[in-house]
């Protein structure tokens, strides 16, 4: 069985989730081909050559020097013809979200995304905002799949040695219908969550903007920073520099004290490395409790004001 893993890289560094995808592909078992597209990739192909895979294919083309959805689609379609993969695998990154569906529609095969495990052609995916899991199967031959962050560990990659092959593609410029500017970062943030020892994090469970004072008061007595889930930032209650998660900061404080955060995967990836997770949520089945060390079931609007009083009296 042939497996194609599409590697993502930036500034000469392989995406962590591409390595996890290699580990996942090795676990599925088969002839794994890694595909690297674009320039500045020597360190990437070097690293891949130390993995126990069939080979690495490198495509460089002046029309696609960096990521472009149309260019990637055209290139991968040509690679698929020669590799004939049963599985086309990526990490479930923002980039994969962008081009994998294009391949799915073009090849007329399913894209089963964001998987947490694969067992005998049964794919497990979280649904309902991480509250439940679903097993999905495919009746198509080949499938496109992507793995959720940390579903496989790069530490489990089998090492070996594998050859590098350059692969020539011919691209029709008229198929490229979008052009991308250089990526950039927004202005520096007002807080440094990443080095905070203690974090009080608020989610939509605080219900109203005015209730954010509860979090700030608690943070003050503890000497903690305040962070937030994305909906709190989207609502304009807190600035985006305070957001934790896949589109915000990644934190690993001594204490992550979450108030009314449900624990969706996009939030959890940003905080699961915390040494102690203390979560308050009124829903006993909230997914945040799956990863919490301490799960307080209750209404934060009742508990936190009393807690602040108690802490002040100490």
């Amino acid at each position: 069985m042939n497996i194609l893993v599409i590697i993502e890289h930036k500034n000469g560094v392989m995406h962590r989730m591409s390595k996890e995808a290699i580990a996942g592909a090795q676990k599925i078992g088969g002839n794994v081909t890694a595909l690297v597209i674009g320039e500045n990739s020597d360190s990437i192909t070097d690293e891949l050559s130390s993995f126990q895979i069939e080979k690495t294919l490198l495509v460089t083309n002046e029309k696609v020097t960096s990521y472009n959805v149309d260019g990637y689609k055209e290139i991968i379609l040509q690679i698929v013809k020669v590799v004939n993969p049963e599985f086309i695998i990526t990490g479930h990154t923002y980039q994969a979200r962008d081009f994998m569906p294009r391949l799915s529609a073009s090849l007329d095969i399913p894209f089963i995304p964001d998987l947490v495990s694969v067992e005998n052609s049964s794919f497990t995916k979280q649904i309902m905002n991480s509250k439940l899991n679903a097993s999905i199967s495919s009746s198509s031959g080949p499938v496109l799949i992507s793995f959720q962050s940390a579903s496989f560990s790069e530490e489990n990659i089998s090492k070996g040695s594998s050859p590098l092959e350059k692969f020539e593609v011919s691209l029709d410029a008229s198929n490229i219908r979008s052009t991308a500017d250089e990526p950039f970062q927004e202005s520096a943030s007002e807080v440094d969550l990443e080095s905070a020892e203690l974090i009080v994090s608020v989610g939509r469970g605080i219900e109203k903007e005015e209730n954010k004072s509860i979090a700030f008061d608690l943070a003050e007595v503890l000497g903690a920073e305040v962070s937030a889930s994305r909906p709190v930032v989207d609502a304009g209650w807190l600035p985006s520099s305070r957001q934790v998660g896949s589109s915000g900061s990644t934190v690993s404080p001594k204490l992550y004290f979450s108030l009314g955060v449900s624990g969706a995967i996009q939030h959890v990836v940003g905080m699961k490395g915390s040494k102690n997770i203390l979560a308050i949520n009124k829903d006993p089945d909230a997914p945040i409790f799956e990863i919490a060390d301490y799960a307080v079931v209750g209404d934060l609007l009742d508990i936190i004001p009393k807690l602040i009083e108690k802490l002040k009296d100490l």
Binding site: M100, I127, I303
Partner: protein, 260 residues
């Protein structure tokens, strides 16, 4: 003075999903959630797509916003919701049962129903809160030979060009210029969605919703089983009255975590 207005025809793809407050009981065949006690809402990310479409139309001065949804009869509620926020008309691709369908089948059905419309722009929420497949808008873009972009957090659309600011990981962004027509998925937080006005709600009742029967041919991916995830971490559950919980939290903070 002649103002060069561009008439832009925009489709917004919306999905109706089980609301986050609903209890999630697994159905007896274990293939989905028992919907008999569920409340349904507009998929939250889709609200942002509707708002963005309205803002684009308002900025350009002219155009049409069409709300498109596939599902059983009940999804007309979310189409009406879009109409009450100012969208012009709706298209309902009606399925007989409330069943999860392979995204590629959904995309093909939507394409079939909207192909003749020749939309300049298709907007969709980046993913649904239920199955989170996150691909329908892009699938349709590919099937209809449109340019595509995902996770737009800002749009800059004028007479000539469609530019979107894509959100990348960890606080990075990138502007992408797209050929027209284009299918773009919208990231949550791009705007502040409006609420329908009373006038909007009244007006929506008179707006057209065209109903087209879905035809599901072969589903290539199937949802076989739903289950509660297994816990991997040891957790102390504190489910007591407020005062006891507060005492225990103080104790944990002081003696176990040593936060102070």
């Amino acid at each position: 003075m002649i103002i060069n207005q561009k008439y832009m025809k925009i489709a917004v793809l919306v999905k109706q999903v089980i609301g986050s407050e609903s209890a999630l009981e697994i159905s007896s065949d274990q293939k989905w959630i028992d919907e008999s006690n569920a409340t349904f809402v507009m998929n939250p990310p889709d609200n942002y797509a509707i708002e963005e479409a309205m803002q684009i139309k308002e900025k350009l001065g002219d155009g049409e916003v069409v709300i498109v949804s596939m599902g059983p009869q009940r999804v007309q509620k979310v189409i009406r919701e879009g109409l009450s926020k100012g969208a012009d008309r709706g298209i309902h691709i009606e399925t007989q049962e409330s069943k999860n369908i392979d995204p590629l089948e959904v995309a093909k059905n939507i394409c079939h129903s909207i192909e003749q419309e020749n939309f300049d722009l298709i907007l969709s929420g980046l993913q649904s809160d239920d199955t989170g497949m996150g691909q329908t808008g892009v699938l349709i873009g590919e099937l209809l030979n449109m340019s595509t972009a995902t996770l737009a957090i800002e749009t800059d659309i004028d007479q000539e060009t469609i530019k979107v600011k894509r959100e990348l990981e960890s606080g990075w962004f990138q502007w992408v210029t797209l050929d027209s027509p284009s299918s773009v998925s919208i990231q949550s937080g791009i705007n502040q969605p409006r609420y329908p006005s009373l006038k909007g709600i009244m007006g929506a009742k008179k707006k057209e919703i065209k109903v087209i029967a879905a035809s599901i041919e072969d589903s290539k991916q199937n949802l076989d089983k739903i289950f509660v995830p297994q816990k991997s971490k040891e957790t102390e559950v504190i489910d007591t009255d407020v005062d006891a919980s507060v005492d225990r939290i103080v104790d944990i903070l002081r003696s176990e975590i040593k936060a102070f």
